[in-house]
């Protein structure tokens, strides 16, 4: 595949490109879903192709072709240069790329047990079995699934990079839905999207789905008759899974440099952050330190090199509450006058690499969830994401959770249904006064982050801990 990618790059240069790169990719994906005791869907997919990117003058062109021969790859390289020339009808400012060290390297994610080698019967028994358990425990609708991705990439650039990577990812999810007269209630484990990482099947075994199946079914049923989350302002404690969503939506997307620069203005949106305030703006309380770190072993946003050939490296995004960094690529960083990229990926050979979260997460503090509850006189604990909505500047959010619990006088009390909370990002993060410790630090994986046109599905990681916030508006409903 290196040879095919090199042919594409050579052809793009010969056709007038001043820079070109190409990614050959071979992707295998397997997913299985079960419902109410039976496997309902089993799908396997393989895909191979090359995407070539060419820079002509100040304009980019990108062409992708499936399973190409050498000649077809060359043709794709020529077409990428032609597409770039068409872009010049509506030209922009000069494009430069921040320099990177040219590498020839191989990298692979850690994997103890190849997920695609685990027998299908065993995997089927797992997902069907837990749905049967949930049904028996009272779920009206019991669902479980797993997904596996095995991706090999060959990256070649006109600067001389030549890098191959193999990334194996997998994870699983299950949920129990109780259907009442007027509404439905759902409990999921381990989170609404499950849990995913750049690891082998050992991750799924560690989740131990069977141990939690009956419990979530019973909780879903109990939620139907639980009191509604009250409306008002209160002290809010969020579990680490909901915190992962909070980080993803209100910090991760807000600090994507392509959004900040206006490149995603028409669709994904922009950001409330102003580059002129980088390094000075207070994003949250002193307890808030967020990093983007693609080097975390096993986290879903980890890799050896991004899709521009930049080696993975940790980057401070917020340090002690001050906004200090962005998620960037080589061209966006250059426009912004920054020195680092390294956070650009595409979801397949047919898509243009774009700025993507890596593992954007909150560094732990020194409290525990139990201590937060004990230190709260009157509040609500919410966990497991249920709904998420945030404005196009990533400022005004309203999130819902599957379950809440009343907190009175330092004790967790009765369960609450339909808990929601809303806020303005810096005000909310500024109210954070307790965060969990390292023993509660979980690398949550989000396998369904949508962005871009054509739409791309990103895999992102979010290390997080439980945290407490003051004066939060809860119980918003229609």
């Amino acid at each position: 595949m290196f040879e095919v990618a090199e042919a594409a790059v050579e052809a793009a240069l010969a056709a007038g490109a001043r820079y070109a790169d190409a990614r050959g990719m071979y992707q295998r994906n397997e997913s299985m879903a079960a419902r109410n005791g039976d496997v309902e869907d089993l799908a396997q997919r393989e895909s191979v192709g090359v995407g070539v990117r060419a820079l002509v003058g100040s304009s980019w062109g990108f062409v992708a072709v499936p399973d190409p021969t050498d000649a077809e790859a060359r043709r794709a390289g020529e077409r990428a240069a032609a597409v770039a020339r068409a872009s010049a009808q509506v030209p922009g400012p000069d494009v430069t790329l921040v320099p990177i060290e040219v590498r020839q390297d191989s990298w692979a994610s850690p994997c103890e047990e190849d997920p695609l080698s685990v027998p299908l019967t065993e995997k089927g028994d797992l997902v069907a079995g837990v749905t049967a358990t949930m049904r028996a425990a009272g779920a009206s609708l019991a669902e479980a699934s797993y997904q596996v991705w095995d991706t090999t990439k060959w990256f070649v650039s006109s600067e001389g990079s030549r890098i191959d990577q193999r990334v194996r990812e997998c994870g699983a999810a299950m949920s129990a839905t109780a259907i009442g007269e007027g509404e439905t209630q759902r409990r999921s484990y381990p989170g609404i999207r499950g849990q995913y990482g750049t690891r082998g099947w050992e991750l799924v075994r560690e989740l131990d789905l069977p141990a939690h199946a009956a419990r979530i079914a019973e909780e879903a049923q109990a939620l139907l008759t639980a009191p509604e989350c009250p409306a008002g302002e209160t002290t809010l404690i969020l579990g680490s899974e909901q915190m992962a969503l909070q980080i993803h939506e209100s910090v991760g997307h807000a600090t994507e440099l392509d959004r900040i620069l206006g490149w995603e203005a028409a669709y994904a949106g922009t950001s409330w952050l102003d580059l002129a305030k980088l390094g000075q703006l207070r994003f949250g309380s002193d307890l808030m330190t967020i990093t983007a770190d693609a080097t975390l072993p096993g986290a879903l946003g980890s890799f050896g090199y991004d899709d521009e050939g930049t080696p993975a490296a940790p980057q401070d995004i917020v340090r002690d509450g001050i906004w200090t960094g962005v998620l960037s690529g080589r061209d966006s960083a250059s426009v912004a006058g920054l020195s680092y990229g390294g956070m650009v990926r595409a979801d397949g050979w047919a898509r243009l690499p774009m700025v993507r979260m890596t593992n954007v997460g909150l560094l732990p503090g020194d409290s525990s969830l139990a201590e937060m509850v004990a230190a709260t006189e009157d509040g609500i604990l919410m966990d497991t994401n249920r709904s998420w909505s945030i404005d196009d500047r990533r400022l005004n959010f309203q999130f819902g959770c599957e379950v809440g619990w009343e907190i009175r006088n330092g004790r967790r009390g009765r369960m609450l249904r339909n808990p929601t909370y809303t806020g303005i990002s810096p005000r909310f993060w500024g109210s954070m006064d307790m965060i969990g410790n390292r023993s509660e630090w979980t690398f949550w994986g989000t396998p369904n982050c949508g962005k871009g046109q054509p739409s791309q599905v990103g895999h992102t990681g979010h290390p997080s801990v439980p945290a407490r916030f003051q004066g939060v508006r809860v119980g918003v409903r229609g």
Partner: protein, 450 residues
């Protein structure tokens, strides 16, 4: 790949499936070729310009009542054999699917799909020309958006004797113009690239942006609203996925009760996969011919969308609405139409409001409860406060939390515009044709300030 080559490849895959799994095995295969060109612009220049080609083979094999699906984009003999063997092996590890409804029987298509040669062969230069017109018409305002052209050619064949083919083109343009603190939007979808009209869209977007400058904040509360077609498209999407979809209906999770007057009598909704606006193939992923499906007739819930599985469970027939992944998500119409009324433009409808909001666009709408279809989301690209029929002030972004069926309930639709337009939903392949609606109430739960 030519149409003949796709048909031959499909037949070859079916032969392979029977040779690997035995003559009694059932199988269905789809061979499709798609070329998509997308030219994106931001800050008034083209910043992304992509062309991707895909050749996809999707196979489902049924062995002794158990089935599995595989897909690949490799068509060489070794890869095809490996794909078929993989599907058969996967099917054999499953328990028989007692609810498997069988493969689609032979049935003729009512059409071959809407196709435009010029759109099928559109070049990056032609898409960039539409962008250039949009940018120029915005008259100096900053602009952003995309212009897309697509072509899809496909063959479906199964061992039950159904073989159908079709081809479609699609095009879409969607862009904003910006002034500080406000964006204005214009968008259009079509079968034909030359119908998009970049200049007209750019002028509309610029006018809206200028009209949205210096917005004011409004307090939460219930407001009368006029929702423009993009908002209506969003409402219809949720109603179809969570309401008129045979899967949630069968599981008791849907609000829809066929035969009941659940909506205002002014409302008509149908799926129009065969009309002149459609960018969909004339058959679904199970090979069932598509047809017009009347979902809401004069406010009465009239029909449920089915694939073969949900239809069998309900004792009905497939309506041709099977989708990729339908085993999990059910049956969803992808070419919805909302009947136009006589209310004129959104501005005409707004002129009849004593006090209310005119809303251009929704954003980030998410479901809070599937049963009641309570949605939270935000406004985007322009909201205006209307007083005594006139624009009183542009308004900052608003958050709403609203049951969509409740907003359309009997007596709640005060007017239906005659301004129906084709709204591309994420891409040219899903076009919603809808007019503006004047609704009695919309629950605003927050503003830009929280």
């Amino acid at each position: 790949m030519t149409g003949n080559a796709r048909e031959q490849l499909a037949a070859r895959v079916l032969d392979l499936a029977r040779s690997v799994a035995g003559p009694s095995a059932q199988a269905e295969v789809t061979v499709s070729s798609t070329v998509r060109g997308l030219t994106r612009f931001a800050r008034s220049f083209v910043h992304q310009n992509v062309v991707d080609t895909s050749e996809r083979i999707r196979l489902r094999v049924v062995v002794d009542g158990s089935w599995a699906a595989v897909s690949t984009d490799r068509a060489d003999s070794d890869s095809l054999l490996a794909t078929v063997e993989s599907a058969v092996a996967a099917a054999r590890v499953r328990r028989p699917d007692a609810a498997f409804p069988g493969l689609a029987p032979p049935a003729p298509l009512a059409g071959g799909g809407n196709w435009d040669d010029a759109t099928a062969d559109a070049t990056p230069d032609q898409r960039a020309a539409v962008v250039r017109e949009f940018v120029a018409a915005a008259d100096g305002l900053e602009t952003a958006g995309y212009v897309e052209s697509t072509r899809t050619e496909s063959v479906y064949a199964n061992t039950a004797g159904q073989t159908v083919s079709g081809r479609v083109t699609g095009a879409a343009a969607d862009g904003i113009a910006r002034v500080p603190g406000a964006d204005g939007v214009a968008r259009r979808g079509s079968v034909r690239l030359d119908e998009l009209g970049g200049a007209g869209l750019g002028r509309i977007a610029a006018a809206k942006a200028r009209a949205g400058a210096s917005p004011v904040d409004l307090p939460p509360g219930d407001y009368e609203v006029v929702l423009e077609p993009a908002c209506v498209a969003d409402i219809v999407h949720f109603l179809l996925v969570h309401g008129f979809n045979g899967r949630p209906v069968g599981e008791g999770r849907s609000f829809v009760r066929p035969g009941e007057q659940q909506f205002d009598a002014a409302l008509r909704i149908w799926d129009g996969p065969l009309d002149e606006l459609s960018t969909a193939l004339p058959y679904d992923v199970e090979g069932t011919p598509r047809q017009r499906l009347d979902l809401v007739v004069d406010g009465v819930s009239a029909a449920i969308a089915h694939d073969r599985r949900t239809a069998a469970a309900a004792g009905a027939s497939s309506t041709g609405n099977a989708i990729d992944g339908g085993e999990r998500w059910g049956a969803v119409p992808d070419q919805p139409r909302v009947g136009a009324g006589g209310g004129g433009s959104s501005a005409d409808l707004a002129a009849t409001m004593r006090r209310g909001l005119l809303v251009s666009d929704f954003w980030y709408t998410r479901i809070l409860d599937p049963r009641t279809v309570v949605i939270t989301g935000l406004t985007r690209n322009g909201v205006w406060l209307i007083e005594d029929g006139e624009i009183a002030a542009p308004v900052s972004t608003l958050r709403f939390t609203q049951s969509y069926p409740k907003a359309l309930a009997p007596g709640a639709v005060l007017g239906v515009g005659s301004d129906a337009s084709a709204v591309p939903v994420r891409s040219a392949s899903e076009l919603v044709h809808a007019p503006s609606l004047h609704l009695a109430g919309w629950h605003i739960t927050g503003g830009a300030a929280g």
